[in-house]
C-alpha cells in the first residue's frame, strides 16, 4: 500500500480513534480527581454575573495587547483567528475530506474557503475523488481569504513561533519543553506539504501522491498526540479554565 492510501484509509482514521481515546482519558481524569468545595458565595445580581463572564474572557485579550501588542497580534489574531482556524476547519479540501468521515461536517460548505484567489467558485478535487462545486458566502473576500494567503500567514506565524521557542529554550526558559520543539516543525510540515500538494507542485502524480500522503500522515500524527499535549486547549483547557475562573472569581467571590 502506498503512503497516500495508508494515510487516508489507515493512519488518519486510526489517529481519530486515538484522539477519541486520549480525549476521553483526559476528560475522565477531571471527573476522577474532582473534589467539591463548600463555599458561601457573595450575593450578586445576574447583571454582575453576566458582565463578569464576558470580562473573564475579555480580560486576557485586553491585557495581552497592553502587555505585549506585537506578540498578541501575531500569536492571537494572525496565527489563531486569521490563519490556523480557517485553514484547518474551513479550507474546501478539508471540508470535503472531513465530510467523508463525519458527514454532518458538510454543513460548513457555505463557509468554505478556496485554495486560491482566482475564483470564489470552488472546484475541489480531493483524494477521495469527490468533486464539489460550491459558492461560499465570502464573495470578493476570497481575494484575501484563501488557502494561499492563509498558508503564507500560517507559515510565517509558525516559523516565528518555532524560532521564538528555540530562542526561549536557549535562554533557559523552563516553560519550553522538548515537545514544543518537535511540534512546531510538525505543524510546518503539515502546512508546507498540504500547500505543495494542493498546487500539484512539483508536477507529476507521484509527487502529488507523496506530498499529500505526507500531509495527511503528519496531520494524523498531530491529531493522535493532540489530547496528550497543550494543543488540547482549544477543545477543553480554554473553556474549562475560563469557566472555572468565572466561578471562582465572579460567582464565588463577587469580583
Amino acid at each position: 500500500m502506498e503512503l497516500l492510501e495508508l494515510a487516508i484509509y489507515v493512519l488518519f482514521p486510526a489517529a481519530l480513534g486515538l484522539f477519541a481515546v486520549g480525549a476521553a482519558y483526559r476528560l475522565l481524569r477531571y471527573v476522577f480527581v474532582y473534589r467539591s468545595g463548600f463555599y458561601v458565595r457573595r450575593p450578586r445580581g445576574i447583571g454582575h454575573v453576566i458582565k463578569g463572564l464576558i470580562m473573564t474572557f475579555l480580560n486576557p485579550i485586553i491585557l495581552a495587547f497592553r502587555g505585549n501588542a506585537v506578540e498578541a497580534f501575531s500569536g492571537l489574531i494572525v496565527l489563531h483567528l486569521a490563519a490556523l482556524h480557517p485553514l484547518v476547519f474551513l479550507l474546501a479540501q478539508h471540508i470535503a475530506y472531513i465530510q467523508q468521515i463525519i458527514p454532518p461536517y458538510g454543513i460548513l460548505w457555505p463557509l468554505a474557503i478556496p485554495i486560491s484567489a482566482i475564483t470564489g467558485t470552488l472546484q475541489v478535487t480531493t483524494p477521495t475523488g469527490v468533486v464539489q462545486r460550491v459558492t461560499t458566502i465570502w464573495g470578493p473576500l476570497t481575494s484575501v481569504l484563501n488557502g494561499d494567503i492563509l498558508a503564507v500567514i500560517a507559515t510565517i506565524g509558525i516559523v516565528y513561533k518555532m524560532v521564538e521557542k528555540f530562542v526561549e529554550k536557549a535562554r533557559g526558559h523552563r516553560r519550553v519543553r522538548t515537545g514544543d520543539l518537535l511540534v512546531w516543525p510538525l505543524l510546518l510540515l503539515i502546512v508546507l506539504t498540504g500547500w505543495l500538494a494542493a498546487h500539484h507542485y512539483p508536477p507529476g502524480v507521484c509527487w502529488y501522491r507523496l506530498l499529500l500522503g505526507l500531509h495527511i500522515t503528519s496531520a494524523a500524527a498531530f491529531v493522535a498526540v493532540m489530547p496528550f499535549t497543550k494543543y488540547f486547549h482549544f477543545l477543553w483547557g480554554y473553556w474549562y479554565g475560563k469557566l472555572h475562573e468565572w466561578y471562582d472569581n465572579v460567582i464565588k467571590r463577587g469580583v
Binding site: 463548600f38 491585557l63 526558559h173 523552563r174 497543550k230 475560563k242 475562573e245
Partner: protein
C-alpha cells in the same frame, strides 16, 4: 519558657517531598499552560528577573506534579518536563521562587486559560514546608498561632492588656451584633487603625465587642507559611471562639489574606457554614454611609485607594472603599485599580522576610528568632528584600503618575510595604489605613 521553634526542624530527604494532592483545578493548572507568557508582564516579580514570571515559577510545580502524577513524567522524566528536586540545595532554590510571589492573582485574570500561578506557588510553599524548608519567621509564627501560644505569652498579654485599656470598649460580650476581630498583627502594625475603628463604631452607636485575647496572630498564618495543619487548626479554633460569642458579624480590619481566608476558605476547610457573617471594616463603613449613620466632613485631600489584592481581586471588595472615600475626599483612582490594580509586592508574607522584621518579632516575643537563622537563610532574606524593592516599581510608578497626596488602603502588609517602598523610591505620598481617615473626618 515554651519553645516557639519550628515543628519541623530538619530537612527531609528530597525523595520524600510530600507532593500536594491533585484535584481537577490543579490538574488543569498542570496540563493546560501553553507557555504563551501572557501572564508575565502583570507579575511584579517578572521585573526582578524573567525567571520569576508566573509561568516560569509555576512550571517548577508542574514539573513536580508531572513527575508524581503522569505516566509520561514517571517514565520519561526531564524529556517531558517532569522533575523531582533531589538535593537540599534545589529545595532552597524552589523556596526562592515560592517567595517571589505575593499571591496577588493578577496573572490569574491575565491568563487566557484561567491558570492561577499564585495558587501554584502557595502549593509549592506547602510542599516545601512539609519538607522542612521555610523561612524561620514563617515556621515560628505559624506554630505560635496554631498552638495558641500567643494567648498565654507574657509579652503578648501585656501588649493586649495595654491595648484594651486604651480602647475602652466591651470585651468578650456575648450576643453583640459585631465582633471586631482584632489580631495581634493589627495591634502591632496598625494599632492606630484599630483604635480609630473603635472610635467610629462608638460614634455610630454600634453594638460591638472585642475578643478577650487577640484573634490570632494574623490568622490563619499557616495559609501563607504553607502549613496546612496550622491553617486548619487556627481557623477551627477561631471560628469556634467567635461562635461562642454569637455575633451576627465578624469584622476584620486587616484587608490582606485574612479576609478571604475567613470569608471564603473557612467554610470549605470546616465543611460547614459559619455561625456569623464575615465582613471587612470597609464594608461595614459603606453600610453605615448608605444608612446615613456615618456622616463625614470633607477633608479636602487628594487621595487614591490602593486595592489590597486579597480584598479586591481575590475578595470582591472593590466598590465599597470608593463609595466611602468619595464622600469626604478628593478621590481619584490610580491608573491600575480594582481588578487590575498593581500589587504592592509585599503580600503573602514577603514583607516579613527581612532581618528587621525578624528583630521586631524577636522583640515582641521576647525570644531571639534570629538565632535559628542559617547563613543561607540570611542570604535568602537579603535577596528577598532587594527583590521586593524592585518588584514594587510598577506600583510606585502608578502612585507617582496619579498625583495624589495620600494613598489609602486597608492591609497592614500593604501599608508597611508601601510606606517603606515609597520612601525608598523618594515618592512623597503618605499611606494610611482607611479607618484613620474616616475617624479624622467624623463630624
Amino acid at each position: 519558657m515554651t519553645t516557639i521553634y519550628p515543628r519541623v526542624p530538619t530537612v527531609l530527604p528530597p525523595a520524600h517531598l510530600p507532593v500536594v494532592r491533585l484535584n481537577s483545578v490543579t490538574l488543569h493548572y498542570m496540563e493546560s499552560c501553553v507557555g504563551c507568557g501572557n501572564c508575565a508582564p502583570w507579575c511584579p516579580y517578572y521585573y526582578v528577573d524573567e525567571e520569576f514570571a508566573p509561568v516560569e515559577k509555576a512550571e517548577l510545580v508542574r514539573q513536580i506534579l508531572r513527575r508524581r502524577y503522569t505516566a509520561a513524567g514517571i517514565l520519561a522524566g526531564r524529556v517531558v518536563g517532569a522533575r523531582m528536586p533531589r538535593t537540599e540545595e534545589e529545595l532552597w532554590e524552589l523556596l526562592r521562587s515560592a517567595y517571589r510571589c505575593a499571591d496577588c492573582g493578577f496573572c490569574y485574570i491575565a491568563c487566557m486559560y484561567g491558570i492561577d500561578s499564585g495558587a501554584m506557588m502557595m502549593a509549592l510553599r506547602q510542599m516545601l514546608y512539609e519538607a522542612g524548608v521555610a523561612p524561620t519567621i514563617m515556621k515560628v509564627l505559624a506554630r505560635f498561632e496554631r498552638d495558641g501560644l500567643y494567648k498565654g505569652h507574657p509579652a503578648v498579654k501585656s501588649a493586649w492588656e495595654a491595648f484594651l485599656k486604651e480602647a475602652e470598649a466591651p470585651v468578650g460580650r456575648r450576643g453583640a451584633r459585631v465582633l471586631l476581630a482584632v489580631t495581634l498583627m493589627d495591634i502591632t502594625l496598625t494599632r492606630d487603625a484599630v483604635l480609630n475603628t473603635i472610635k467610629v463604631l462608638k460614634r455610630v452607636g454600634e453594638d460591638f465587642t472585642l475578643p478577650e485575647v487577640p484573634f490570632g496572630v494574623r490568622p490563619p498564618f499557616g495559609a501563607i507559611a504553607g502549613d496546612v495543619k496550622a491553617q486548619r487548626d487556627t481557623i477551627k479554633d477561631l471560628v469556634a471562639y467567635a461562635e461562642s460569642l454569637s455575633p451576627r458579624l465578624a469584622v476584620f480590619i486587616d484587608g490582606g489574606y485574612v479576609y478571604p481566608q475567613f470569608r471564603f476558605e473557612a467554610t470549605n476547610i470546616l465543611r460547614r457554614p459559619l455561625g456569623f457573617q464575615v465582613l471587612h471594616v470597609i464594608e461595614l463603613f459603606a453600610e453605615y454611609v448608605r444608612e446615613g449613620r456615618l456622616r463625614l466632613k470633607p477633608l479636602g485631600i487628594r487621595v487614591a485607594w490602593h486595592d489590597p489584592c486579597h480584598l479586591a481581586r481575590r475578595g470582591g471588595v472593590i466598590e465599597e472603599p470608593r463609595e466611602v472615600l468619595r464622600k469626604f475626599t478628593d478621590y481619584r483612582d490610580l491608573p491600575g485599580h480594582g481588578e487590575r490594580s498593581w500589587c504592592c509586592s509585599g503580600g503573602a508574607g514577603i514583607i516579613f522576610l527581612s532581618e528587621e522584621f525578624y528583630r521586631r518579632v524577636s522583640q515582641l516575643l521576647g525570644t531571639d528568632i534570629t538565632a535559628g537563622v542559617s547563613p543561607r537563610e540570611s542570604a535568602f532574606l537579603r535577596e528577598t528584600e532587594e527583590a521586593l524593592r524592585r518588584a514594587m516599581l510598577k506600583k510606585v510608578k502608578d502612585v507617582r503618575k496619579s498625583g495624589v497626596q495620600m494613598l489609602v488602603t486597608a492591609c497592614p502588609a500593604c501599608i508597611e510595604t508601601l510606606r517603606a517602598g515609597l520612601k525608598f523610591h523618594k515618592v512623597d505620598v503618605g499611606v494610611e489605613h482607611i479607618s484613620n481617615l474616616v475617624a479624622k473626618a467624623l463630624e
